[in-house]
């Protein structure tokens, strides 16, 4: 009797508490891993930005010195400005992706295969895309060379010109990004409520009016995702720059992500502190978008619960 009692008590203890303890057991591996490799490094990096450090010898606290230097660094401003160009022109992927999605949202023979082939560039590595476009842009034996000759720009190198290099890279970057937005919008169009469209048509809505007032609002979710991934993509742009120009000529196609890498880890020296300061600036810019995204998710969560 006694024994039985204590046993049942133990079971009740576990039963009473397992719902409380289980989530932490399930969370532990992922959360610990994520904290070590993602969360903690953010704070460590911000910390390093107040030091002068070459990665080997002892680091030296320099306060805001790295940030003060940034304010005077011409290349920092060029990179920042280029990031802005990226943000603006990369956004073209959203309307172009939407346009293509509307164009392709039909049922004709072979459309499934055609859609898949349109998605294609998104699946391929940016390294490959960057290499292809670099080759396209080659002034003498590149693919667009004949066209350049046609308009009298013989031997013009898009990627070696300080005024055009960034646009050349952004154009290449748009290729997979448009495909990404296309995927999001095709799914969105697929999920549209057909009754509302029909009701709109009954009321005489047509063409652009129908699109703007009835279709577009229903694509809100797709638009939101497309904008978020495009902004993040623009600010994260690294691969393309690294492959196509390495920031050149003379830093004129640099972006913050690549400039940071160059300062911290390349032949130009190992300026970890300065690199961290650049990364912190980039992180701060990105944080606005991240917080916006999280705010939206938070609102959705609250709506779901009410």
């Amino acid at each position: 009797m006694e024994l039985n009692n204590s046993k049942s008590k133990r079971i009740t203890w576990w039963q009473r508490n397992q719902v409380k303890i289980s989530p932490w057991i399930f969370l532990a591996p992922g959360l610990i891993f994520f904290s070590i490799y993602v969360i903690a490094p953010i704070f460590v990096s911000i910390g390093i930005s107040f030091y002068q450090w070459d990665g080997l010898s002892p680091s030296m606290y320099v306060g805001l010195q790295n940030y003060i230097e940034l304010l005077d660094d011409e290349y920092f401003y060029i990179s920042l400005w280029n990031n802005l160009k990226w943000l603006i022109f990369f956004m073209l992927a959203v309307p172009i992706g939407l346009g293509l999605a509307i164009f392709l949202n039909q049922i004709v023979f072979g459309i499934r295969l055609i859609k898949s082939l349109f998605f294609f560039p998104f699946v391929i590595s940016q390294v490959v895309i960057g290499l292809i476009f670099t080759w396209f842009y080659q002034p003498n034996y590149g693919v667009i060379a004949p066209f350049l000759n046609l308009i009298g720009l013989e031997g013009f190198s898009i990627l070696a010109n300080e005024n055009t290099a960034t646009y050349g890279i952004i154009f290449a970057g748009l290729y997979p990004q448009i495909a990404y937005c296309l995927i999001l919008y095709l799914t969105g169009l697929n999920n549209i409520n057909p009754e509302q469209i029909e009701a709109g048509r009954m009321d005489g809505a047509k063409g652009f009016h129908l699109f703007w007032n009835i279709v577009l609002p229903q694509l809100r979710h797709a638009t939101f995702l497309a904008v978020v991934v495009t902004v993040i993509g623009a600010l994260r742009s690294f691969d393309m720059v690294a492959i196509m120009t390495q920031g050149g000529p003379y830093g004129y196609s640099n972006v913050l992500a690549y400039y940071m890498f160059e300062q911290a880890l390349s032949e130009y020296g190992y300026r970890m502190g300065y690199g961290s300061a650049i990364a912190t600036v980039l992180f701060t810019i990105m944080m606005f978008y991240i917080l916006f995204f999280i705010y939206r998710m938070y609102r959705n969560e609250r709506e779901d619960n009410n």
Binding site: F26, V128, T187
Partner: protein
């Protein structure tokens, strides 16, 4: 349906559409055709500037042979698989658990932890670069595949948790309640009820993570230095430096690098799209 289905339009429009569709596809794929065409050419065509004309020789196999025997391409490809597959398994395993925990239990810090996973997933890599490289050095895993995998698993857990949590949250709660009533333990619920139901989500995450990691370039350059552990993206970049104008080899190498994610995509397209749209698809 929007736009109006084409078969409800005048016959002329239908024909115009059917003509324009393949034309637009060809224009869209010009860059891809470019490398496909170039990969079958020889050096002669390249130096003669014959980029779009008929190839004067069909040398795809000889180019492939060149790429595989004269460069460490086989090694790079193998390395890419060695990085990609463990990452895929690791991140999916961890996020099944975190996703289940966050979807299923109410506790005070639930949403905060969820948002930390999401926020971490979006941070610029550069803010992690120095500490992660340092940490990898300290635990003696710099320049190893394991070191790269560990980071990838941790980072991808953010995105995977977001996806899994939302997926599990959308499952019917009655199933779990009923099992609890029957006295099933929490682990049993996870293993016997939740896991089988998340199969589509697991498939979606597997394809996505495979593509993301296969195509990663940044971390491969930050954490790997030698050919012995270098994945194909970084390998291709370093070969690019050696090949300079050997575009036929560069194209062949690019195709080799692109094939695995492309196959993955075509085989699992539905799951891939479901993953990208965070599950916003009805099929």
């Amino acid at each position: 349906m929007f736009p109006t289905p084409i078969h409800q339009r005048p016959i002329v429009n239908q024909y115009i559409y059917k003509i324009f569709l393949p034309i637009s596809l060809i224009i869209w794929l010009i860059p891809i055709f470019g490398i496909l065409m170039t990969s079958i050419r020889g050096l002669g065509d390249i130096t003669a500037g014959n980029m779009w004309g008929t190839p004067s020789e069909f040398l795809l196999f000889s180019n492939l042979h060149d790429v595989f025997t004269n460069t460490p391409m086989i090694k790079y490809t193998l390395n890419s698989f060695k990085v990609t597959i463990p990452t895929m398994l690791g991140a999916v395993a961890l996020s099944c658990m975190t996703g289940f925990a966050l979807a299923n239990y109410k506790f005070r810090t639930n949403l905060i932890i969820f948002f930390i996973f999401i926020a971490g997933n979006f941070v610029p890599f550069q803010i992690l670069m120095i500490p992660v490289r340092d940490l990898t050095f300290k635990i003696g895993l710099y320049n190893t595949i394991t070191g790269l995998v560990l980071f990838h698993v941790a980072f991808q857990t953010g995105f995977c948790t977001l996806f899994m949590r939302n997926f599990i949250k959308a499952l019917p709660q009655e199933l779990i309640e009923a099992a609890r009533m029957d006295g099933a333990s929490e682990f049993r619920i996870f293993w016997k009820i939740i896991l089988p139901l998340t199969r589509p989500a697991i498939a979606a995450l597997c394809v996505l993570i495979f593509t993301f990691i296969w195509n990663d370039y940044f971390w491969a350059t930050v954490l790997i230095q030698g050919d012995h552990a270098m994945p194909i993206t970084a390998g291709l970049k370093s070969l690019n430096g050696q090949w300079i104008t050997a575009y036929h080899l560069l194209s062949t190498g690019s195709i080799v690098a692109a094939i695995p994610p492309v196959i993955m995509f075509f085989l699992m397209q539905k799951h891939f799209i479901a993953g990208l749209t965070l599950g916003a698809t009805k099929g």
